[in-house]
Amino acid sequence: MSPSRRLIRQTLTIARRDFIATVFTPIFLLFLFAPLIMVAFSTIGAMGAAQAADHGADRVKIVAIVPDAIARAFVEADTRTRTVFRRDEEPPALKTLAPARDPAAQARAAFEARDYDATAVLYGPLERPTILYGARGARAADYLAVLAGQSLVADRVGGHLPQVAAVKTPFVRQRATLGGQNQTAFLAVFGVFFLTLFLAGQVVGTMAEERSNKVIEVLAAAVPLEAVFLGKLLGMFGVAVLFVGFWGTVLGQLTSILPPSFAGMVGELSPAIGLPMFAVLFVAYFTMAYLLLGSVFLTIGAQASTMREIQMLSLPITIVQVGMFTLTLSGLSKPDSWLAVIAEVFPLSSPFAMAGMAAARDTLWPHAVALAWQALWVALFVTLGARLFRRGVLQSGSVRPFWRRKRA
């Protein structure tokens, strides 16, 4: 058997063991359904918050102190204008009051009312109304000003605003919008980041198992450490693929039952390179991001000898990932800047940046170069990790990892 075939066989043997040992445990179900648990808690939290907000929101009003004749036009203008807002962006409900002898005093008194919370109050002539507003009431004041304008127009044309019967027809673009491409780029970067953040950190502690139960000596005698490292990485990548595949299928099914308006929005998210190629590149960059970050984390984690040290590593690992994400987003906002080039070239941020590029530009060759570049770094990190492990851990049980050697 050729050395390369033997290495592949040994790598896959390690990967198979790790995959089975991870997946065929009850704990894996907890891991697999963790997003569901997360979503469930988020939903409960959001519902509670929304309920609390709704409860308070019912009491909040914008107040127009206008004569009855104007009030009708005011209500009509409010009814029409309100339709352009999304539910969560709607202004507070309108309340009209007939003017008293001193409208200014009446307006001030409205803020003291016990049966509602006034956020903005309008009084005076519609040509030059006075609007008082409280904290966070500036937009409500603007809205009252708009209603005043529309009511004035209605008053001048006979009491009602003119009706316009518009013909609304949905239109599907043939080309992606620039905004859609940018959104796709952001979503691609975020998608790769989110998946690696969630999954790549899992490899940190995988060598600890072999070290604690002394299996590492058996493995090191039978197969090269590079095969052990790569096998562990692939085993955990298999777990990640299973996880992504499961949730991808679930989300795919959910998308098919979403309303057409949502499907239209999704349609706007069109990558510049075309959807099939983008899908291939997204998978490739997710793979590379996982392998790159995973190999670095595996290398660092392999030097740790206790669970406490491994747990301590989780924070710097998250910071590194967030750092790469931030660097990529900075580059994405200025595509031709030096920051963008750094993000595309620096090995740990390259998969994120290139996933973004796939959405925003239609050239294909940079991706071939980038994937080869990233694969080279995966090989380098795995080799380096194996060497550090051999020198720092396998040489002798008493040799300390590099960080403790420096401290000593």
Binding site: P3, R6, T13, A221, P224, L394
Partner: protein
Amino acid sequence: MDNQWAVNASGLAKRFGDRRVVDGVDIAVPTGAVYGVLGPNGAGKTTTLRMLLGIIEPDEGERTLLGHAHPRDASDLVGYLPEERGLYPAMKAREAIAFMGALRGLDWKTGRARAIELLEQAGLGHAADTKIRKLSKGMAQLVQLLGAVVHRPRLLVLDEPFSGLDPVNQERLEALMLGERDRGATILFSTHVMAHAERLCDRLAIIAGGQRRFEGTVDEARGTLPSLVRYRPRDPDRVTPELLPADARPDGTDWRFSLPDEGIEPVLGRLLAAGAGIWNLSIERPSLHEAFVRIVGEQASQENAA
């Protein structure tokens, strides 16, 4: 390819920090032999074996393993039981054995079938589907040993294989080692228990202080010490020290001394002439244990003197 030697190493040296753990060790293990590496704790046995297997690289020296200049190239032909036993606790015994075979190139299906066969031969057939964490230490150790032989290696390297085993399991292990030898495998094992080495080894090396102090057969090792003579005279009053060799020491009514190079006859002649007579006379060959203690003791004395 060199078929005469399963393992051939010369001048192996390894330094950990400031300490030279192995210092120019030569080892040549004939193909098909059972070869013991003996030494006190900390002598450098494990480091030597690890260098031979390519787990760590020597700082100096060369070695071939089954004719391969790099041990990795022969890894599928080698079985290894490390000093620190290690198995995945959640694996079943059968799977653990098949896994170790798979690491050495054996396909899983054959590995599982052979695992059952080996477990039954070792009297552990009932434990085939038991998880490692539920096995006793001795049973787990045997499972690991079976994992080291499941792919039918040409060279079996065992680091302190008897440590932690009860006498029954030690006997099982000895039988297994001899079975592997009969199959044609070469066996290289380290130990500091002389009884096993005496029973099993065709050849052995004694390592102390990182250096090889002796290499040869068990008989040759025992031959490094003269035989011991135990003599009881008929008439003790007629025995004077001048009649006996210089190292003779009284031991109750007996005298003990090393067998002189010229043989026992001249001494007996003098004793008979003096009328001391012979009540009892025995010549005992030294044990491997005694030879080991002397060889290692010399090294310790040299170190102390230095």
